[in-house]
């Protein structure tokens, strides 16, 4: 079973040389730490930055330079800054190759819910609805089950949707799963020490298991 950093490490393998990538808040942010040397990627922050660098050194933080999570960050050689309309314009025009974000639920046809829980205070969708509606490749990083022990991979989402038919892949502490174009969760890889049966037990939606399921290489 993977911890958060393990999930991030596995997702980092999906990041290919030359990609522009948008990382959501939470586990996705950690992915940046595991991108191998020699793989050149550019991180997009939807508040208006291409080429997001690491956190600044203590004392060098700049209130005018933050990421979409409102964290102080830095730029890199080759960075560019732009306004919010252009930022979402490049997302909508599919110039951003890969979006990695968290979720509360994913359905077997690729719907995602990650912004609102009825009865709880709504914070707002921020840029999430734009990202999931536009990105050509969306990977969800999340826990396989919620705190109540219920599966987050469902036949249908029960929470208000963020977007429909958009998630392509899911990486959890248990497994790597592809969401098939015509519906269904196809099991691709098991986390180290996790059995197919455990994954099946934690998956409420239709899990497709074909042949031998390899263990993840991290």
């Amino acid at each position: 079973m993977l911890d958060k950093n393990g999930i991030a490490k596995r997702i980092a393998k999906e990041v290919k040389d030359g990609m522009y990538v948008n990382l959501g808040i939470g586990i996705p942010t950690l992915v940046a730490n595991y991108i191998p040397d020699g793989i050149n990627v550019v991180l997009q922050s939807e508040n208006g930055l291409l080429g997001m660098g690491p956190f600044p050194f203590e004392g060098e933080e700049d209130a005018d330079l933050i990421n979409a999570g409102k964290q102080t960050i830095t730029t890199l050689a080759g960075s560019s800054i732009f306004d919010s309309a252009m930022s979402f314009g490049m997302i909508r025009a599919q110039k951003v190759d890969l979006t990695i974000l968290g979720a509360m639920e994913v359905s077997e046809n690729g719907d995602i819910a990650n912004w609102k829980i009825p009865g709880k205070m709504v914070k707002g969708m921020g840029g999430a609805m734009d990202l999931v509606a536009s990105a050509q490749n969306i990977i969800v990083a999340m826990q396989h089950v919620n705190k109540a022990g219920e599966s987050k991979l469902l036949p249908n989402c029960t929470l208000p949707l963020t977007g429909v038919h958009c998630v392509k892949k899911i990486v959890t502490e248990l497994a790597v799963i592809a969401v098939l174009e015509n519906g269904g969760f196809q099991l691709l890889e098991r986390a180290p020490g996790v059995s197919v049966a455990e994954i099946q037990a934690a998956t409420a939606g239709k899990l497709i298991i074909e042949g031998d399921i390899p263990e993840m290489q991290l």
């Binding site: 208006g48 209130a63 409102k70 102080t72 306004d83 969708m125 840029g127 734009d130 977007g163």
Partner: protein, 232 residues
């Protein structure tokens, strides 16, 4: 060149009336028009509809206007980090309309570019789509979203000149340029105001035609919401 300079924030916002719609630039607390928010607090204008990506925090930014009950309605994409906001929303004192961030930006841009509507993919199949006209182009579904219609836009830039030209600094740019284009009257506060001619015409982010009033602000706090650092 036309001179757009006014004396201070109070002068710049003096004709904003109760019940009007104002846009405020910024993302989180980054690039917000601090001086004009203070002037709105002093003016005590009420029943405002505020279009701004966020609603500030309890004791800074638009949060201050909420504390004084000056806001009737917030139109935003994300309104977390604000307990007073939550209290007013749950008690029914405050209305809120949540809009996907990209749609928010594009509806500003539409106003600035004279486009009556734009088609946005964000929110298709979600509760955001309720009541909206949809249309499919090349197999993809979009929501028809209207250009904003705001009485005032209030933006913050780094440098500006007397002709109203603006240059933003770093990610404090965010919504400021698109809101500057979108206001019927646009007010800009800048950290540094210079005479026309000192800025390179090639490097202007917001041309002066969009800016009706400009002044040099002061005492910028520029509060950081999430200070994240690494050690050397």
């Amino acid at each position: 060149m036309i001179n757009k300079v006014v004396k201070d924030a109070d002068t710049a916002i003096k004709d904003i009336q109760n019940g009007q719609t104002i846009m405020l630039g910024g993302f989180g607390l980054c690039g917000i028009p601090e001086n004009c928010i203070q002037a709105l607090l002093r003016k005590k204008v009420i029943d405002l509809t505020c279009i701004s990506n966020n609603a500030g925090v309890d004791d800074f930014g638009i949060g201050l206007l909420l504390q004084q009950r000056q806001v009737k309605k917030m139109i935003s994409s994300y309104v977390g980090e604000n307990a007073e906001f939550e209290r007013q929303l749950l008690s029914g004192e405050l209305e809120v309309e949540l809009i996907p961030q990209g749609t928010l930006a594009t509806r500003c841009m539409a106003a600035g570019y004279g486009m009556p509507v734009i088609y946005s993919p964000a929110g298709v199949g979600t509760e955001v789509a309720i009541g909206k006209e949809t249309r499919v182009f090349k197999g993809k579904e979009y929501l028809m979203e209207y250009a904003f219609d705001a009485d005032f836009a209030i933006v913050k830039a780094w440098k500006g000149d007397t002709a109203g030209n603006l240059i933003y600094k770093s990610t404090a740019r965010n919504f400021n340029p698109v809101m500057a284009m979108a206001g019927k009257i646009t007010i800009a506060e800048v950290e540094i105001l210079v005479p026309a001619g000192e800025l390179d015409p090639d490097q202007i982010h917001t041309p002066g035609i969009y800016v009706h009033r400009i002044f040099q602000g002061n005492n910028y706090e520029k509060r950081i919401e999430q200070k994240t650092v690494r050690t050397k």
